[in-house]
Amino acid sequence: MIMPSGQQLLLPANPFFIWTSLIIALLLEMLPLGRVPWMPDFLALVLVFWNVHQPQRVGIGLAFMFGLGMDVHQSALLGQHALAYTALSFFATMIHRRLLWFTVPSQALQVLPMFAVAHGVEIIIRMSSGGIFPGWTLLLAPLAESMLWPVVSVMLLAPQRRAPNPDENRPL
């Protein structure tokens, strides 16, 4: 198998774990914290992560459905998050073969433009449909998302990093 040297072979991802992580990200998004424009979009981050690591399981259709849910929850324009997440998921699918050859910090740098485009799509739609400008702190959101990429990588890859044959010396 062709893979980056020095990397560990990973266990297959449990579908139950994928769904749990997506639901937890949705829960984080739904915490009633008020209007915070710079808040990183955890759901987008987790969706992109699974899109890159498990493109067979989490694709554009699922991203669209979660986006629709976010629109209804935020009482935003219906389809705004759906379009942003669809674009995000498409870009993630496009770069998923290339991205995993890089180290995690440079992966974070490579996903930054994708998140910036997703936020750009949202702001263009809303400003053209007569919304209030949310402030320049919005620019921090893609930065925060890309800085959280290593954290998410470690957390969501941990169950796949377990040993395939656990014994007494390696219980996990």
């Binding site: 998004e29 915490l31 209007r35 849910g69 219906l78 809303r126 949310p134």
Partner: protein
């Protein structure tokens, strides 16, 4: 198969499903269609209702830590603070009790005078108490979510007031919650009456002001407005009952080059921190219908260019 995993099921080689680009096209078109349907035609309420019902368990779960924090915070509030707030409430009650005593008498007097003058009776205001759950996270609008919905009899377009003034209007009703657009939202306009002069005008939401405010537009630069004037609802719109405080005039800019003055107002309601609100039934259902137009006898048409 994803890179570097021990996945034992190889991916299908020939049946890969639609390509990513075609999926992108399909779902983007669907999203754009939904946006147009939502913005222009306002026909997406059933979709919203279905998705909102599906999301309700997760929303409920996400609200629990906040409720626990509120409850815990209230539990551990210092006794002295509770005493001060009780003292303040008592003082307010004492100040209001005099006026409250007069209200009965004034209402009776008003009813008699109205009967004497053969005016229509004032409409009784019926309300429903509700609690603000959270600010809508959408940063492009100014909305809050309250905990009463269709199941509790909330109607679309009902005015919402808090203890000190008009907070906004119900713009979307779900099964168990509703959305209230605040008076400071850009799309909100509310007919007001200057309580000092009796002049009617319309106040528009102005979210760009610090903390949000309102603006009186199209008032001539020589119009009689002063700093500190109270604006109340005028009651001519068929939505808001008359006499509810809306805003106070904060600042007036009269410019030489413009025929209109720029008038900035601060909302009276606690738009950033309202917790307990009243949802009032819109008065439109109680207003009598317009009488039918009587046919007007038209003058016979004049023939043009007949004689020359």
């Amino acid at each position: 198969m994803p890179l570097g995993t021990l996945d034992r099921t190889p991916p299908p080689f020939f049946r890969q499903g639609p390509s990513a680009l075609s999926k992108l096209m399909f779902f983007s078109a669907l999203a754009l269609f939904l946006m147009v349907a939502d913005m222009r035609f306002k026909v997406t309420q059933p979709i919203r209702a279905v998705v909102a019902t599906a999301l309700y368990p997760v929303q409920w779960l996400a609200l629990q830590p906040v409720r626990a924090a509120q409850y815990g915070g209230g539990y551990f509030t210092a006794l002295s603070q509770a005493k001060t707030s009780e003292e303040a409430a008592r003082q307010k009650l004492a100040a209001q009790s005099l006026r409250a005593g007069q209200v009965e008498q004034l209402a009776l007097e008003n009813a008699r005078l109205r009967k004497l003058l053969d005016l229509r009776e004032q409409k009784a205001i019926t309300g429903l108490a509700a609690q603000v759950l959270y600010d809508a996270p959408d940063p492009y609008t100014r909305k809050v979510i309250i905990d009463k919905g269709l199941a509790h009899g909330v109607e679309l377009a009902s005015p919402v007031v808090d203890e000190s003034g008009v907070l906004g209007q119900v713009t979307r009703v779900h099964a168990l919650v509703s959305e209230v657009t605040l008076v400071i939202d850009r799309d909100m306009a509310i007919p007001v009456l200057n309580a000092r002069t009796g002049a009617r005008s319309v106040a528009y939401g102005d979210p760009t002001a610090s903390g949000g405010g309102l603006e009186l537009r199209f008032m001539g630069s020589n119009s009689d407005v002063q700093q500190g004037d109270l604006l109340t609802t005028s009651g001519v719109d068929g939505v808001y009952p008359p006499g509810l405080p809306v805003a106070k005039i904060e600042r007036i800019e009269r410019r030489a080059e413009s025929a209109f003055a720029r008038i900035y107002c601060t909302p009276q309601a606690l738009v950033g921190a309202a917790l307990h609100v009243m949802v009032i039934k819109p008065v439109s259902g109680q207003i009598p219908l317009r009488p039918a137009d009587e046919p007007v006898a038209l003058p016979p048409p004049v023939k043009k260019g007949g004689s020359k």
